[in-house]
Amino acid sequence: MAKKKLISAKINGEPREFACEPRQSLLEVLRDSLQLTGAKEGCNNGNCGACTVLLNGEPVVSCLVLALEAEGAEIETVEGIAAGGQLQPLQQCFLEGAALQCGVCTPGFLMTAKALLDRVPHPSEAEIRFQLAGNLCRCTGYDKIVRAVQAAAEGTNP
């Protein structure tokens, strides 16, 4: 078995250290070693987006990132987006707009949507749908998710 290595990264703004095997994905380490179980394993092959986190500000599927690649990086997960006990506007709009049913896809959608609104504060509906295409939802039919993102962008409740 390949030796474990020690990795330092900033996770949700805090410096963290963890040991991992080279073959472990970032998703595995987040969930199993760091107890950050927000990111979900849907497909484990890059297609569903349930494991989306931000790596140096860019959305990535953490099932297709080796944990070792996080050395020196900044990682944001869904656990980190609500500041001071207050839900982030996107979270609030998802909740109020019923943009989730089983909720397995939600952390991934929130992270991609956050990355989108960080770059494009007022995206069009087409832009939202295009940029969220890497996140799959088997429950909602997407419309409520798109409306929740629009509401968060416009600062209105859906």
Binding site: S25, N45, G46, L64, L66, E69
Partner: protein, 292 residues
């Protein structure tokens, strides 16, 4: 996932040494969007994964002195389409990088990896081929360059030997009065593998007559194929919808597709005609918008 060691060399030389070392079965890791899936599903074996993203040269994305583009093999798609200068010059490549997977995939997937993986449906290969892009390879015996059009040798196969590393893809400068476009057909709106694809490039002379054309089709043969007869029919002609339709019909004959779950032979050939026609119209529009 299967057990392997990991190395992240910071120079091309060091990477080549690791890849050539007979003591390992080494594979290159760029964005990992193909290789990590293959390793996890045990469709590829490795004892050492060589992450090439820490090598400065492979992260370079810059216009060359002669006005071409140096595209480092570790540059992800999202970095490419965010550069206005690249969109202006190499629009067909940008068309492709915007639809390779979703945003999460584009943050990581490289054009270099897309080329090395050598899928017949790889979206970046037809655009690279119409621009006459060249692959720069470093190996145990030094460096060499070869046209991207000759790089893939079959489904999932390329010309690279043990110890070889793709350093960059170099796109030659393009003529001022030229335009290009890439389109693919998929049954969904986003996130799917091309049933067929086409990249077209046209160059116009002072009178607006087509003086050069390049058409390369994807997903309709074991590697990307050039539609030479369609190209020849365009040269010397003023652009028109009838001409594009004629080129489309000729392009269909260059396709040698297979029947599979994504489409029949007949359907794929038909798509080649449609996509050729459409990409030619956009390419001409783009060329004309630059000349005005």
């Amino acid at each position: 996932m299967q057990d392997f060691d990991y190395a992240a060399p910071i120079s091309t030389h060091e990477a080549v040494q690791l890849l050539a070392d007979p003591g390992h079965k080494a594979v290159v890791l760029a964005g990992g969007t193909d290789i990590l899936v293959l390793l996890r599903e045990r469709r590829r074996r490795a004892t050492l994964v060589v992450d090439v993203k820490k090598i400065a040269e492979l992260n370079e994305l810059a216009m060359t002195a002669d006005g071409g583009l140096f595209l480092g093999a570790a540059v992800p798609c999202s970095r490419i389409y965010r550069e206005a200068a690249i969109t202006e010059k190499y629009a067909a490549l940008v068309d492709a990088t915007k639809i390779i997977g979703g945003w999460q995939i584009q943050s990581r997937a490289t054009v270099g990896g897309n080329l090395c993986n050598a899928s017949p449906a790889a979206d970046s290969i037809p655009p690279l081929a119409i621009y006459d892009a060249v692959a720069e390879i470093a190996g145990p015996n030094g460096r060499r360059q070869m046209p991207v059009a000759d790089f893939c040798s079959g489904v999932g196969k390329n010309v690279m030997a043990r110890g070889d590393l793709l350093v960059a893809i170099i796109l030659p400068p393009i003529e001022a009065r030229s335009g290009a476009a890439f389109q693919r057909f998929i049954p969904r709106n986003e996130m799917d593998i091309a049933v067929a694809s086409a990249a077209s490039l046209v160059e116009l002379d002072d009178q607006g007559i087509i003086c050069k054309a390049r058409i390369v089709l994807g997903a309709v043969a074991t590697t990307a194929v050039r539609a030479s007869h369609a190209e020849e029919a365009l040269v010397g002609q003023p652009p028109s919808d009838e001409l594009f339709a004629q080129a489309g019909a000729l392009a269909e004959r260059s396709a040698r597709p297979i029947d599979d779950m994504r489409g029949t032979i007949e359907y794929r050939k038909h798509l080649c005609g449609v996509l050729t026609r459409r990409t030619l119209a956009i390419a001409v529009e783009r060329a004309q918008s630059k000349t005005q």
